[in-house]
């Protein structure tokens, strides 16, 4: 077992974990943060995307021990003081989710994209979305929602 200290959505956790425990499983099973979804577990579907020190990354491709000393944000941390994040509002408005399985990963990646590059083009949004599989809504409303928050024409 290896000791691990990290913050998730601003709260500090100290845990002991096996080195082989994936960060996605640590978040879901140890911390009970099941908003991070697990799809393919090999980095293709994008459902498990979280932010590690600000960067959107696949939590299924990180070991929990690698996040020692890091600040993690998950979808549970997006809404502040009971107010939805602007991306969440826009997703609701544009019907950019249906079953919601892919949504948390897309929200976390979109939040990173918008912070890096405040007005991405529609193509840049589509490029980011190429790393996220959605099987019900279709991508157009998702692009619309992100473009609205980004102020993309």
């Amino acid at each position: 077992m290896t000791a691990l200290e990290l913050t998730v959505n601003g709260r500090t956790y100290r845990e002991e974990v096996q080195p082989r425990l994936l960060l996605s499983d640590f978040l879901r099973h140890r911390l009970g943060l099941s908003g991070t979804h697990v799809g393919c577990e090999h980095g293709v579907c994008g459902a498990c995307t979280i932010r590690l020190d600000g960067a959107a990354v696949r939590s299924c491709l990180l070991l929990a021990v690698q996040a020692d000393g890091c600040a993690i944000e998950t979808v549970e941390g997006l809404a502040a003081n009971g107010e939805l994040h602007p991306l969440q509002e826009a997703f609701r408005e544009h019907h950019a989710l249906q079953c919601g399985f892919c949504t948390s990963g897309i929200l976390m990646a979109a939040a990173d994209l918008l912070e890096q590059d405040r007005t991405p083009t529609r193509d840049e949004i589509v490029d980011m979305l190429s790393g996220h599989l959605c099987r019900c809504t279709g991508y157009e409303p998702i692009v619309d929602a992100i473009a609205q928050v980004a102020g993309t024409p």
């Binding site: 082989r20 696949r58 490029d127």
Partner: protein, 285 residues
């Protein structure tokens, strides 16, 4: 889909990482960005007993200009390189290749050195480095990229040798390069890929490198003799493409037969050649 148990070593220095490799030999695996290794661990295609994490090793994340080349530390994340001004301005072939590597979130974690050391035959960065005539700096030596890649997932690295940086020659006036690939879906592994470097002097090609990937087991340099001393026109594009298609023997896969992949390669080689020519001649003084 969970990794088999292993001992985790967080290296704090490159010496510590080398020591761990020496102590455990081929049982140990290096972990950089983990965007290829961790899927292999999850699927248990790889079962190292010791995992040596390089991510906290200091000094491997610099991007500098050195002797006419851009030196990129092995741990530089693909997304950091994508955003780096030195890469965008002085290393156009790398800048063109990076958006084709995986996806937004995998590039945030995946490293330049990791992609080179992993040596996937369909990967863009090894192909670009070979086409540019770049080199790989390891803990033991500096090697031309063309000698570094041995086969699919296989490099010239010894068991206790670690990639420290890659060197990307910066273009001079009269030089141009291009990398093109085709994948069924954006971000997927390419079915065929090609990269071309040209130097043009007095309106004719004076130096050329043409590398192909995905259809071979490593980035492979093709014969460019016919190009030297000539201009690149439609006929040259067609004949170089056709001879490239004839020079490779790709295996069939889910998305294409060998004939299809050869034909695709011919087209892509022609496109890379034409683009490199346009860029080289536009850049001519």
């Amino acid at each position: 889909m969970k990794p088999a148990p292993f001992t985790y070593v967080r290296a704090e220095s490159i010496e510590q990482a080398v020591d761990a490799l020496r102590a455990h030999g081929s049982e140990a695996k290096l972990l950089a960005g983990g965007q290829s290794l961790v899927p292999a661990l999850n699927m248990r295609l790889a079962r190292p007993t010791v995992l040596v994490d390089l991510n906290r090793v200091p000094g491997l994340d610099g991007i500098d200009e050195e002797n006419g080349a851009i030196r990129i530390g092995a741990l530089v994340r693909q997304s950091s390189a994508e955003r780096a001004r030195l890469v965008r301005e002085r290393c156009p072939l790398l800048a063109e290749s990076l958006p084709l590597v995986g996806h937004f979130a995998t590039r945030n974690r995946g490293t330049i050195g990791g992609s080179i050391a992993h040596a996937d035959a369909a990967a863009e960065l090894p192909l670009a480095l070979v086409a540019l005539g770049g080199s790989v700096i390891t803990t033991l030596r500096t090697m031309p990229a063309a000698d570094f890649f041995v086969g699919h997932f296989t490099t010239a690295l010894a068991d206790d040798e670690i990639v420290v940086a890659t060197m990307w020659p910066r273009p001079r006036p009269g030089e141009g390069s291009a990398l093109v690939e085709f994948a069924p879906r954006y971000g997927d592994f390419a079915l065929a890929s090609a990269a071309c470097f040209l130097r043009v002097e007095n309106g004719a090609v004076s130096e050329a490198r043409l590398a192909v990937g995905s259809v071979t087991d490593r980035p492979e340099l093709l014969d460019v003799e016919p190009l030297l001393g000539s201009t690149v026109d439609d006929d040259a594009v067609r004949s170089v493409g056709a001879s490239a298609a004839g020079a490779v023997d790709p295996p069939p896969n889910l998305h294409g037969t060998p004939q299809y992949r050869r034909a695709l390669l011919g087209t892509l080689v022609g496109r890379a050649l034409r683009r490199a020519w346009i860029r080289a001649t536009e850049a001519s003084p």
